[in-house]
C-alpha cells in the first residue's frame, strides 16, 4: 500500500527525521492561506500515488500567495497524468504547500527488500534527485547497496560507513547516522516494503532534511498496522478495484473490453496472455481466489458487469479446491440477478467439470461452453468482432 508524500513525511517527522515545514490543503482558499503563512514563497505539490509529478506541472514553485492559488486552481480536483499514472491519471484531492529550502547538495537514501537474498538492503548515493535505477545502471560505483542480516540488524557502524560513502563528515556524519537509524526504525516498526528519500538534502545551513518522501507498506502486514491502514486513500484506485478489495477479490482494471473471471493469480495472468495472443483486449485481471464461495463469485461477476467497457466475458476456472459446479451455479445466479445479456464464454477444467457444464447448458443464458483455453479465448474474441 502506497502512502501519500504528506503521510510519509508525517511518519518521518515522528521518527525524528527533519522534513520541510508544510501545510496540507484541500481548497484554493486554504492554499492561499498556507502560502501567506510561508510569506508567499513556497512549493505547491500535488498529492497522488505516483511519481513523475515535477515533469508535468504537479510540483510548482511560486513566489506569491496569488500564484499559489493559481496553481491550486489548475491542480485541484482533476486528474494529473504522469509517466507513472497511466493515461487516465490520478485525482488530485490535496496539495502539500511547503517552505522553500536553500540546498547545498542532493543525496539518495532508501530501504527496501532484496528478493534475491531474501533480506532488506540500504541503498545510498551521493547523486540524489534523479532516478536511482538509472544511476545504478550507468555509474554503479556511485550507488552503495548494504544487505542487512536480520539477526544483527542495521547498526551504527553500518550507518557510519554509509555516511562516509556519501561524503559526509563532522557533525553532518553524526546527523546522517541518526537519520539512517531512524529511517530503519520507521521501516521495521511500520512493516514498510519501501522507504525512500530522494532527494535527501544537505541544506545551506548544513543540516540533513528529507525533501521528498516515498513510503509503501507491506499489504500482508496491514492487519497489524491499523493506524497506517486507515490512511488508505481510496480515491487513488479505480472504484471497482476498491469494491473488489472489500470482498478480498484481486482485481485490476485494464483498457480492453473483455471482462475476465479466473481462479488463481497465475492462471488469471495466463488467461490475459492467451486473450492477447488471440487479438483480444482484457478489461481486467480478476482472481476470485482458491477458496471462493458463491457470494464471492456473484460479487466478482457483478464487478465485471459494472464496468461499462465490458462487452463480453471470459470465465476460466480450474476446479481444485473450488468445484466447477459451484462456480456454474454462482454464474447463473449472478447473471439472473443482474440481468446479463452480454455474451459469455465459459471454460472449465478439473473437479466436477461435467456437472458445471450441465448446469450452464440448462440455464437459459447467452453462454458458450469451450473445453480448451485457446478455443475459449478465440471464441470470445470472435463473438465481439464486428460481423463482416
Amino acid at each position: 500500500m502506497k502512502l501519500h508524500e504528506y503521510q510519509a513525511k508525517e511518519l518521518f517527522h515522528r521518527y525524528g527525521i527533519a522534513v520541510p515545514h508544510s501545510h496540507l490543503v484541500r481548497s484554493i482558499e486554504e492554499t492561499g492561506q498556507a502560502a501567506d503563512a510561508l510569506a508567499g514563497s513556497c512549493i505547491v505539490k500535488a498529492q497522488i500515488h505516483a511519481g513523475g509529478r515535477g515533469k508535468v506541472g504537479g510540483v510548482v514553485r511560486v513566489k506569491t500567495s496569488r500564484q499559489a492559488r493559481d496553481a491550486a486552481r489548475r491542480l485541484l480536483h482533476r486528474p494529473l497524468v504522469t509517466a507513472q499514472t497511466g493515461p487516465h491519471g490520478l485525482p488530485v484531492n490535496s496539495l502539500l504547500v511547503e517552505e522553500i529550502i536553500p540546498v547545498a547538495r542532493e543525496l539518495y537514501l532508501s530501504l527496501t527488500l532484496d528478493r534475491s537474498s531474501g533480506r532488506y538492503c540500504l541503498i545510498a548515493s551521493a547523486q540524489g534527485g534523479v532516478d536511482i535505477e538509472q544511476t545504478a545502471r550507468n555509474t554503479p560505483e556511485r550507488v552503495s547497496r548494504l544487505t542487512i542480516d536480520p539477526l544483527i540488524g542495521l547498526r551504527a557502524y553500518h550507518a557510519r560507513g554509509v555516511a562516509r560513502f556519501l561524503g559526509l563528515d563532522g557533525p553532518l556524519a553524526k546527523e546522517a547516522v541518526e537519520l539512517i537509524l531512524a529511517l530503519n526504525r520507521c521501516f521495521l516498526d511500520r512493516d514498510a516494503s519501501l522507504v525512500e528519500i530522494n532527494p535527501l538534502v544537505v541544506t545551506e545551513e548544513g543540516h540533513l532534511l528529507a525533501m521528498d518522501a516515498k513510503v509503501s507498506i507491506d499489504d500482508s502486514a496491514l492487519f497489524r498496522q491499523k493506524e497506517v491502514a486507515d490512511w488508505r486513500d481510496e480515491t487513488q484506485f479505480d472504484p471497482l478495484e476498491v469494491r473488489a478489495a472489500r470482498s478480498d477479490i484481486a482485481y485490476i482494471k485494464m483498457d480492453g473490453r473483455i471482462g475476465c473471471l479466473v481462479n488463481g493469480a497465475g492462471l488469471a495472468m495466463a488467461t490475459l496472455d492467451m486473450l492477447s495472443e488471440c487479438g483480444g483486449k482484457p478489461a481486467n485481471f480478476l482472481d476470485v481466489g482458491g477458496g471462493a464461495d458463491q457470494d464471492k463469485v456473484v460479487e466478482a461477476f457483478r464487478i465485471l458487469l459494472e464496468d461499462p467497457a465490458v462487452e463480453g466475458i471470459l470465465v476460466n476456472i480450474f476446479g481444485g479446491i473450488m468445484r466447477c459446479d459451484l462456480i456454474a451455479a454462482s454464474l447463473i445466479a449472478a447473471a439472473k440477478e443482474v440481468g446479463c445479456s452480454l455474451p459469455i464464454v465459459v471454460r472449465m477444467a478439473g473437479a466436477r467439470r461435467k456437472e458445471g457444464r450441465q448446469l450452464l447448458e440448462q440455464a437459459e443464458l447467452n453462454i458458450v461452453w469451450q473445453d480448451k483455453l485457446a478455443s475459449a479465448a478465440a471464441a470470445i474474441v470472435r463473438q465481439l468482432s464486428p460481423a463482416p
Binding site: Q84, G86, L113, R115, S116, G118, R119, Y120, E133, D149, P150, L151, L188, D191, S193, D218, D219, S220, A221, F223, R224, A250, I252, M254, V262, N263, G264, A265, G266, L267, A268, M269, A270, T271, L272, D273, M274, L275, S276, E277, P282, F285, D287, G290, G291, F318, G319, G320, I321, A349, G350, A351, K372, L373, A374
Partner: protein
C-alpha cells in the same frame, strides 16, 4: 524415487483443527499420504477423524515420527509455526498459508539458514509425487506417475500445465509449487538441482511469472548445470507495470521482473518456452524430442 516426498513420508498438519487444515489433511490421507499427527496449541489430546492432535510439533515428531509438516496456520502466527517445525526436527515444511508479512519471512529465511529443515512456500499449493504422496491442496485426479518434474510459482496454472501433460501422456515424477510470495524457502534452482539428480525424472517443466529475478537466476543455473531437457511457460506478458497481479510477488517494478526478459533468459539457456498457455505440453514434448536427438548424436 521422486524428490522430497514419497510413500514413506510421515506428515504432521500444523493447524489440523482449522477448516482448511482439516479438509486438506483428510484429502491428503485419502490420497494415500501417511498423515500421522496434527498440531494446534491448546488442543492437544483431541483427534480429527482418528488423527491425534498435539500441542507442539516436538510431540508429533517424538510420538508419531513425523518428518514432514504441512502448515495451515493463519498469517499472524504462520512464521512462528515454521520456526517451531524447524526446531522440532522436521525435515521438510510445506507452508500453504497466504499473506505472511514479508518482515516475518525475512527472519524465517535467515533462521532456516542455520537449520537442516527445508521450507516449501509459503503461499503455495504444496507438492505431490503422483501415486505415492500428496502434501498440499493440489487436485489429486489430474496427476499421473511419470518422468516429468514440474516446478511452479503458481497454483491453478500448475494444474492447467499438469492436466495438459497428463493428457499428452506425460506423467509426473514430482510436482512442486514453490509459492507466489517475494520470499520463499525453496527456489527454482533448488528444485531443478533435485530433479537433475533424480533417476525418475527425465525432463522438467518450469512455470514462472512476472516479478523478481528467480527465472533469470534459474536460466543461468540451467545453462551451467542442467543435464535434462527443460521446457516452461512464463505468465504475465500482458501485465501492466507497477500492479501486483494477485500474488504478492507478481509485480513488474522499475523495469525489472518483466515476462519478456525472463522468456529471453530461459530461451538463451536452451529452455523451450511456450508462446501461450495452451502449448505447455507441446513444448515439453518438443524439448524431450530434441534432447533425445541430441542424445543419439553424441
Amino acid at each position: 524415487m521422486a524428490i522430497l516426498i514419497d510413500r514413506h513420508s510421515r506428515i504432521v498438519v500444523q493447524g489440523l483443527t482449522g477448516s482448511s487444515g482439516r479438509r486438506h489433511g483428510l484429502l491428503c490421507r485419502d490420497y494415500g499420504s501417511q498423515v500421522v499427527a496434527g498440531v494446534t496449541p491448546g488442543k492437544g489430546g483431541m483427534n480429527i477423524d482418528g488423527i491425534p492432535v498435539f500441542d507442539t510439533v516436538a510431540e508429533a515428531v517424538e510420538l508419531c515420527q513425523a518428518d514432514v509438516s504441512m502448515i495451515f496456520v493463519p498469517p499472524p502466527a504462520a512464521a512462528e509455526a515454521i520456526l517451531e517445525a524447524g526446531d522440532a526436527g522436521i525435515r521438510l515444511a510445506v507452508c500453504i498459508t497466504e499473506g505472511i508479512p514479508v518482515q516475518d519471512m525475512v527472519l524465517v529465511n535467515r533462521a532456516l539458514g542455520d537449520r537442516s529443515m527445508r521450507l516449501i512456500g509459503p503461499n503455495c499449493p504444496g507438492l505431490i509425487t503422483p501415486g505415492q504422496c500428496k502434501v498440499g491442496i493440489l487436485p489429486s485426479d489430474i496427476h499421473r506417475p511419470g518422468p516429468i518434474g514440474v516446478v511452479s510459482r503458481s497454483g491453478t496454472l500448475t494444474y492447467e500445465a499438469v492436466q495438459q501433460l497428463s493428457n499428452a501422456g506425460l506423467g509426473q515424477s514430482t510436482c512442486v509449487g514453490i509459492g507466489g510470495d517475494p520470499i520463499i524457502g525453496t527456489s527454482f534452482i533448488d528444485v531443478l538441482a533435485m530433479f537433475n539428480d533424480d533417476a525418475d525424472t527425465e525432463g522438467v517443466f518450469l512455470i514462472g511469472e512476472i516479478g523478481g529475478a528467480a527465472e533469470e537466476e534459474a536460466a543461468i543455473w540451467i545453462r551451467q548445470n542442467m543435464r535434462k531437457p527443460v521446457a516452461g511457460y512464463i505468465a504475465g506478458v500482458t501485465a501492466p507495470p507497477g500492479k501486483r497481479m494477485g500474488h504478492a510477488g507478481a509485480i513488474v517494478s522499475g523495469g525489472s521482473g518483466r515476462a519478456a526478459d525472463k522468456i529471453a533468459a530461459l530461451r538463451n539457456s536452451g529452455v523451450e518456452v511456450a508462446e501461450n498457455p495452451a502449448l505447455m505440453a507441446e513444448v515439453m514434448q518438443k524439448a524431450l524430442r530434441s534432447a533425445d536427438i541430441a542424445g543419439h548424436d553424441s
